[in-house]
């Protein structure tokens, strides 16, 4: 940025820490820093053995497994279908396209408790969709599949909204050049169109996965919350609190937080990869 050199020079004689800075730092320390420190210090005030025992109790391990495996499947599923949705929205013109485009943001706007309530109804054995699958013996609501549907709902916009702008900027000439050189449609897609999209798709999948892992409102209502079956980690933390087991909640919360932090770092790395691709 051309002006930044001038900016810092002209500001030097003025206060080094203007009001906006103090407000920002003060608020972040009070509202974000302190809670984080409180969580870590409480979790590590237990002995390492105790921490390990709570963090790897069978019920906790099964909750991680349900959470992460289901969230990963949901995010990857959305990686495919979200990309198709983005592709259709960017490349094709059809009646209702704008409406469809707006609907994609629904999970951001609809409160999670409402999402959970309506998903539990639509996918129950008497619901619109669940009713169609019930005769086949497939139960959706109050099972692990229900958890996955809630996660599909929450993570979909992340994939669509990260892939869309990249697709829109992609040159159509490249695809046309590939066709005119005799490449088949499939070859063009796999070798020309897809590679530049991969960073965006994986960023979207990672963002969606990260949100699905922490999701509580919709999963708690669409699952039966039975341990070893469809109990996810955030709900397990909530149940620990209900039993006044603050240490248990803190330890499992700490594990979940550390995983979120790892995900955040990998998302930043993925975005850096995407930028390198764009340049």
């Amino acid at each position: 940025m051309a002006g930044s050199g001038i900016t810092s020079n002209s500001r030097k004689p003025r206060s080094r820490f203007p009001l906006a800075w103090r407000v920002t730092l003060g608020y972040m320390v009070l509202m974000l820093g302190l809670p984080l420190i409180a969580l870590f210090s409480k979790a590590f005030s237990t002995s390492p053995g105790e921490f390990w025992r709570i963090a790897t109790a069978p019920i906790a391990l099964s909750a991680y497994e349900v959470t992460f495996v289901t969230a990963l499947i949901a995010a990857c599923f959305n990686g495919v279908f979200g990309t198709i949705v983005a592709w259709v929205l960017v490349k094709y013109e059809f009646p209702g396209r704008r409406l469809i485009d707006a609907i994609v943001d629904l999970p951001f706007a609809l409160p999670t408790a409402v999402a959970g309530l309506t998903l539990a109804t639509v996918y129950s054995k008497t619901g619109w969709v669940g009713g169609l699958l019930a005769p086949l013996g497939i139960k959706l609501a109050y099972t692990r599949l229900g958890v996955m549907i809630a996660m599909l709902f929450t993570s979909l916009p992340f994939v669509v909204r990260t892939v869309e702008p990249v697709l829109a900027e992609m040159e159509k000439d490249m695809e046309e050049a590939a066709w005119s050189l005799g490449a088949s449609r499939a070859q063009t897609f796999w070798q020309v169109s897809l590679p530049p999209l991969l960073p965006a798709i994986s960023t979207g999948v990672a963002l969606g996965f990260s949100r699905a892992v922490g999701e509580f409102g919709s999963t708690v209502m669409v699952a039966s919350n039975t341990p070893f079956k469809d109990l996810v980690a955030p709900v397990l933390i909530f149940q620990r609190l209900e039993q006044y087991d603050v240490v248990g909640a803190t330890v499992i919360g700490c594990v979940l937080l550390m995983i979120s932090l790892t995900l955040l770092i990998s998302i930043n790395l993925l975005q850096a990869w995407g930028k390198r691709y764009a340049d």
Binding site: G3, I6, P35, P111, A113, L117, L156, L241
Partner: protein, 277 residues
């Protein structure tokens, strides 16, 4: 050869559009329509009955009250943070940006646990708070703090890119002409960032009114005292009062729809502003 390609491209087009629309219908649209369907399935009478329930009225009041406090606080913070981050290059800047995003990656339930560790009876400030006589956890202050935590990044996130795009030149010009900080903010910066700011405020408000996880951990869910609208939805559902649950959901879904429409409008404003520049 070319006609073959065109033919197959037409077919692929139809298949892809069908897949995309069916998927969105199954995952998003059917559940959204179902909210209204269920709420009115027994007619308008039972639907309207809910609106006279004392629990419901108090839940609506609390939801608005919490948003009325959290949204202004987080907007001021967001503006300060955006300005500090967009107008300065300093060591650890990208770390601050990542930290600012943290509330989005932390599970709302974990956020609630943190608040209990700080403000609960046995928490860091618990002893002091009880001597002062303020009940944060299982009280309204706890709901406010938890909501403020989960909505912290929205405004800054939307304003930072706008500030970075307009650059500091206009502000510098105003400063050399002798304008004071507040004058620069009101007359130069604010008009430039107003659409981005409004966008962030609307997202903050939607999340503040709809937050469930963090609030349900700290609120104690006491009807007519600490029960917000999303908590009322869950409670009614658990009590098999399905019509009440869906009637309250209609209100929250309408909030979501208004948010979506405003979002579309603001996105168009932001896009046309970029074209002007």
């Amino acid at each position: 050869m070319l006609t073959n390609q065109q033919k197959s491209s037409g077919k692929i087009r139809i298949i892809l559009i069908t897949i995309a629309i069916s998927y969105l219908f199954l995952i998003l649209l059917a559940p959204a329509v179902n909210v209204f369907w269920q709420a009115f399935s027994k007619g308008f009478g039972p639907f309207l009955e809910v609106f006279s329930q004392a629990d419901f009225i108090s839940a609506v009041g609390l939801t608005f009250f919490v948003a009325a406090i959290v949204v202004p606080i987080n907007s001021v913070f967001g503006l300060c943070a955006a300005w500090a981050i967009a107008r300065h290059r300093f060591f650890g800047r990208s770390l601050v940006i990542s930290l600012l995003d943290l509330p989005f990656s932390i599970s709302p339930v974990v956020a609630g646990v943190m608040m209990i560790l700080l403000y609960g009876n046995r928490g860091w400030f618990g002893g002091w708070l009880s001597t002062v006589g303020v009940k944060v956890i299982f009280g309204v202050p706890g709901i406010i703090i938890a909501t403020a935590f989960v909505t912290m990044p929205f405004v800054a996130r939307e304003v930072i890119p706008v500030l970075e795009e307009i650059g500091p030149e206009q502000e510098e010009a105003a400063r050399t002409l002798g304008a004071k900080d507040w004058q620069i903010f009101w007359h130069v910066t604010l008009p430039n960032i107003r659409w981005g700011l409004l966008y962030g405020v609307i997202l903050t408000n939607a999340r503040a009114m709809g937050e469930f996880g963090a609030v349900s951990v700290v609120s104690g869910n006491i009807a007519r005292k600490t029960q917000t609208l999303p908590l009322f939805v869950e409670e009614s559902y658990k009590q098999y009062a399905t019509t009440s649950a869906f009637a309250a959901s209609v209100l929250l879904a309408l909030l979501g729809l208004v948010t979506l429409v405003l979002k579309l409008f603001l996105e168009r404003q932001l896009a046309s502003k970029q074209k002007d520049d």
